[in-house]
Symmetry: C3
Subunit: 390 residues, 3 copies
Amino acid sequence: MNTTAAINERLKELEALKTDTFGKDFLLTWENSLDNLKAVMLVAEILQLLHWEKKPWRIFDYGLAISIFRDNSTRTRFSFASAVNGLGLALSELDEVKSQIAHGETVRETANMISFLTEVIGIRDDMYPGEGHTYMTEVANAVSDGFATGILAQRPTLVNLQCDLDHPTQSLSDLLKLKDYFGGWDNLKGKKIAMSWAYSPSYGKPLSVPQGVVNLMSRFGMDVVLAHPEGYDLLPDTLDSAKCFAQQSNGSFRITHSMSDAFKDADVVYPKSWAPMSVMQERTRMLRQGDKEGLKELERHCLAENARHSDWECTEEMMKLTHGGNALYEHCLPADISGVSCEQGEVAKSVFERYRLHTYQEAGYKPFVIAAMVFNSKVRDVVEKIRSFL
Amino acid sequence: MNTTAAINERLKELEALKTDTFGKDFLLTWENSLDNLKAVMLVAEILQLLHWEKKPWRIFDYGLAISIFRDNSTRTRFSFASAVNGLGLALSELDEVKSQIAHGETVRETANMISFLTEVIGIRDDMYPGEGHTYMTEVANAVSDGFATGILAQRPTLVNLQCDLDHPTQSLSDLLKLKDYFGGWDNLKGKKIAMSWAYSPSYGKPLSVPQGVVNLMSRFGMDVVLAHPEGYDLLPDTLDSAKCFAQQSNGSFRITHSMSDAFKDADVVYPKSWAPMSVMQERTRMLRQGDKEGLKELERHCLAENARHSDWECTEEMMKLTHGGNALYEHCLPADISGVSCEQGEVAKSVFERYRLHTYQEAGYKPFVIAAMVFNSKVRDVVEKIRSFL
Amino acid sequence: MNTTAAINERLKELEALKTDTFGKDFLLTWENSLDNLKAVMLVAEILQLLHWEKKPWRIFDYGLAISIFRDNSTRTRFSFASAVNGLGLALSELDEVKSQIAHGETVRETANMISFLTEVIGIRDDMYPGEGHTYMTEVANAVSDGFATGILAQRPTLVNLQCDLDHPTQSLSDLLKLKDYFGGWDNLKGKKIAMSWAYSPSYGKPLSVPQGVVNLMSRFGMDVVLAHPEGYDLLPDTLDSAKCFAQQSNGSFRITHSMSDAFKDADVVYPKSWAPMSVMQERTRMLRQGDKEGLKELERHCLAENARHSDWECTEEMMKLTHGGNALYEHCLPADISGVSCEQGEVAKSVFERYRLHTYQEAGYKPFVIAAMVFNSKVRDVVEKIRSFL
């Protein structure tokens, strides 16, 4: 299919959707209707198609996009930089060290002070349970207030670049890869996806990826199985909502403590390490108290606990259990690859290498998902605007 | 009044002014004629009006704006980023750590090496008396020389983002707020402004804000009262010039050592902490000598001295002394708010909260003041250029 | 000559060249034909002429340029920022600390992850023999692979901003200065250039500048003399190729261990410090092993060894030996100037000051050389595109 046809097909789908994204932030997939999510993904696909044709999709004459990274990042950082560049904005990173934030500026004040010409604020704040989403909400309220009281000429749109609850730019990219791989959303119905904990020699990875994945795939009629060793639970609320979504979509959601059980006949596997919620909470408490001894002891304990589950690896043996022995392997990258980035990790080298290009394509959606979130928040008539690019 | 009318009114005022800003840096308000200052403020207001209408005011096809921050900053950093973005430039920050500057590059050489495609250089260098303005002058001379000798195709315009003497982008924003609040410059004549020292648990804040404020407001016929405890003097030259400006404008300027005296019947209050000049000078000497013990002792001494004046707080009681009990409260932000950002500080929580939005509006002029400084330096026929945006 | 005439003359020269730069990286001058090199320099001159006329030479509607600096830099950093800005790209710096690279991302993966909307990648990696060029080749292969397999919509062009072997943006700027100074490439034939080691109180400067210079100037018929104390050898391969180039161009290349011998009758002198290759290799080994004691001892030894050659300074006496006593002095900057940036260094203060503006002009070519490298890689019909700017 040529590009124009592919775009037109998506525009037709878009026209049939009922969305309320205009003027809204994108913080959590589960705050959004199915139509909103589909609209973001369709626009992401269209912007990607335009990019391959080198047709510009700029919507701003000028303005800033600000990113706030409270954790390291490569691909999300560059995805955000790419997205806002394509939309016509200049990127400014709010470096909390260089700025005076440590010197007592409140979130409310700072959010307004940086926003006089700002159209987008992207935030990553994923390390501490109970913190990231709360912080994003504070920033969102602050700029809403600033806009309502005439301080700001425009209300910047917030984009969640990973919080303690969700990682929507990742999970929507994961889903777009599934859509492409299986040939459409309808084909995902009844497909089994294993979102599985996997062993890693590192410690303290956030919960937002598994939480985001089980809460998104369950809305598209998939049979979602969450697998992890006992004690590696996700936040209870996110489990409840995933159950609920599965019911609504005629999919299913269950939890198992066996990786093999999850992999059995799976069409998709997503093996990835994360820290137990209780450890993350304990760690947050210790960090706040500056309890260095406690933190060391906690890390020792947690790594030892992890090591008891080093058999949770996506090996060739494990892959043989999957549907036809060739389930699609997904990962948010970087993966802990046994014998490559660590001695033993989440995935066997041969498995990863076989699916490497698939994971790159999966990541390749992210700049366009971010751009689409902004696009759908800023553009009142999305379809008309896209037609103007053709 | 609608936007076009508001812009046209200001264009008429602009046309009546005699300015010589073309090709000039903006380093100190007191180097500029009253007409120059008015022209910057009128253009700032116009650019802000255009921004609210989302009408672009780009004047460059390409080119760099470089910022050099020798002290932390949030709002000035983002104001500069916003201003140069609106004008059509890309921002590059000169990070003196990442660059080889520590390795022996001279100011003259560096200034030219970074300026081959550079239109604007914004500098913050406010910590050491006798240093910031001197440094800016060195940079200015270096690029003048580079331009004169054919090294540079254009001479970058320098903008003072706060030095040891003045903070013109701040004081002009403060003044624009007063203009808006009282309904025009003429209405400022005879209004009393109390630029007062206030207690802060921190140490070593620069003198440029009070120096800038008393030297600017005194030019608009205001009754300027500078209040501080004994020993917290500003630089003598800046006091002399403020006196002189007050005479010229039929305003007045006096110094008092009583906060109440200053607040009595004031129409505007600006309570803000700063370090005594002598301490800043002592500190500079010690920093140069690497005298760590001396620095610690100086801080101890200075904080103890500050603590003797903890009653210099902008409380509700103090506010009652002002004209009608409701003088306008100004601050450059962030303020040390008692019970919010510190136990006891410059201003009571209830006072600050009542004027919070006013301080945000005050800060909101800054991106446009910076842009206007560049605009008036780069554009030969300012009025004609602005008309082209309408 | 007016600008248009100067541009047209260069366009005529360009049309006569046979180049194969389209779609290619620029990593080493010696990988490129003489025509390729001339084409880069002619386009650099044209872009500079356009810049002086303030005629834009943008070729991209949107897209990122990414810089990776594994060593400090001022002028190259800002040259790259300027070049990509003029071409229409937004700069993103890959900070290897902020990113997750330390956490095990492979070069292949990272190169693709940052490139979804990326048109240019500029890399400085000059500290370790055997590393920089290898790293750049890895990145180049990774994005080639990404483009070939449909991961990337475009293949980013790599530009070497200094590696362990070559510093092409520097040496081509040096050569453009020679072309301008002597009135054309033909006038360089038979001119003697002394690329000489010079004393510096610092330690560990890379070899890429002298290697780059002897391998470039030898291709334009110059008599190239490389001078250094015994033990300060360059990489053998780069000496072999310089010999070979000299033969092909009817120039000459020889090595001497006497600065006076090199300066005798020289038309151009390039006195600059570098570390002995063997020391750089030893240092790389120790850094890898984390051998801090060894590193300290090596530095002590190397500085002592350097100090034995403190008479290798470009003094007025030395300059008197040159052709007419007024050879052109070149340097990549910053120079170690005796009595200015150090007690004793590479060049006497009076000599440097006499040639200061010449060194600034030399540096002034760099933004346009970088831009031309990208231009010639991205634009299929270079002459036609340039005509569209006129």
